[in-house]
Amino acid sequence: MAHHDHGKHGGKSYWLDRKGNVAKVFYALIAVDVLWLAADFFYKKKAEFEAWGGWADGGFGFYPVYGFVGAFLLVLAAKQMRRVLMRSEDYYERRGGSSST
């Protein structure tokens, strides 16, 4: 396994090199997120905007949902942009590209 070959550095093996530990980081992140979500139970926030029935900004779980969905859709949209925008690395260097190089 490639990971095993590279897992040693100066005879040292690193905690993150073990696949199970990466999963642990992921689960820890989920745990932290649950805690942050739970925080919405424990304090009252005044909504600054009336739009969306006051849910935006003031409602339960607005920021978590917005952060998650926003970032998720951002990546999926960007992925689709590649179909149109992506070119090979030497696109501008090839003949007919930039003359000044």
Partner: protein, 594 residues
Amino acid sequence: MADFLLSPPLLLMLGSVVLAAAPRNVLPRTALRALLLALPVYSLWRFWGLDFGDYAQFELFGQTLTLVRIDPLSRIFVVIFHLAALIGSVYSFYVKDNFQPLVGVFYAGSALGVVLAGDLWTLFLFWEVAAVSSALLVWVRRSGRAAGAGLRYLGMQMVSGVLLLAGIVLLRHETGAAPGWAEFRNLTGFLEDGGLGFSNLAATLIFLAFGLKAAFPLLHSWLIDAYPESTPAGAVFLSAFTTKFAIYALARAFPGQSELIWIGALMTAFPIFFAVIENDLRRVLAYSMTNQLGFMVVGIGIGTELAINGAVAHAFADILFKGLLFMAMGAVLYRVGHVNGSDLGGLYKSMPITTGFCIIGAASISAFPLFSAFATKSLIMSAAVYKEYFWLWLVLLFASAGVFHHAGIKIPFFAFFHHDSGIRCKEAPRSMLVAMVLAAAASMGIGLLPLAEMWFGLANPFYELLPYQVHYEAYTTTHVITQSQLLFFSALAFATLMRTGLYPPELRSVNLDADWFYRRVGYRVWDGVATAFVALHRTGYAVAGRLATAALASAQRHLGPQGLLGRSWLTASMALWVAVLLAAYLLVFYWRLP
């Protein structure tokens, strides 16, 4: 005279020129470096002793120009530009050659000239000097790509300069006076309806000139194109000055321009999509820079005291954390030779200290509590809330989640973690580490000062430096919780996408951006025009050639040695022809005689 020579712009510019000109045997490298670092330190110390007001005024062509005008808006930029010059110089000592720090300090001096200029002519002068000196920092990479990118960069900077000059000349023509900043807004009178309206051509031209350097959408690609082609140190210097003095100029001349709100909102949103799929990690930083500039532009557009404070504070913080991120990526570039996300990974094993600094920079730009943007960007967000710009606020919130996604997670993750690329290199050189310590400490300081103010009642010198005295509490329960929720759930989205394999892999590629229009379409058009001209020239040449050949051949035929008119004749045949002629005369006379 001392007023002039020791003013921050001239002190840094002339100082670096003198140091550059000093022969090596008189001034050894270490001494030169010590003096070079002393320049911004002394300049800032001297500046700090001055009160608000005009200094170093001079008469030119019957106009009074002001080299140094200190007021609360220019002061904070002067402070951060000095710090940036200092940090950038320290960073660049990883190469033996002192060219980069010398040019960098000179460039910093020209940027100081822009923010201190008391009138538009002086501003224009330094605007152009900054353009040329910064182009040197792109070319210093000495690669073919850098040569091309530097040329395109300089071209775009010159466009900005020409727009500015045209605007100033028009303004001068309309008003008949050298426009100073205070007069500028009264003269053009475009603020009355709260919008530029683009009715005043002079103001519009100046607006575009500033906007080009502030990387407005579609005018932004010089930044994406050129900065990542520079050297590690060059990019650190470049990231600090040009875009930020453009922000200063917008804040000075166009506060409260409603157009800026939507221009800025667009700037915060669109680059993050590009940043997600960009492979060159320093180019990711360039996109993230456009995104951060967007927040500042929005702040200027909102125009309230809180919003302007936010824009300026965020510019200050951005110079530090964006510099820090460019320094960390520069260290990787220096040690590994490239910063392609597709080929990096696992570098935390080789460069643990750089990794740590990169994470501090990432946390700062992402506005995590305790880090700088949490105490600066939030001013802009709050200003948007107070003015009840709901959709704007949603866009900014999305952009905040997005900036964490690409700059906060992507940069450190793909460079230092992810899968182990097998690359083993040395930790960053000491000069780089020292510079990163300075930038990281300053970034955290900005983030921690409001907390110290809240808990211990300490004064917050950073907020006091802002142009307006506004009381703002960054660390409210609501702000800490909502911001953390936004960021941690954005992180969860990243982790989920990575684990499910939905995240687009880093690929060796370029993505088309606005520069495609002049690098490809513009080039094609130019190429077409040039080809047409060449064809026309060739056809004309061929036709002319053929005509000339024909004429030559005909001359040869008639006048040549064998030609009718050129060949030699026998004397006998001449005598015969003369006899024939005489006979003809005889006949004519015979018939003509009466």
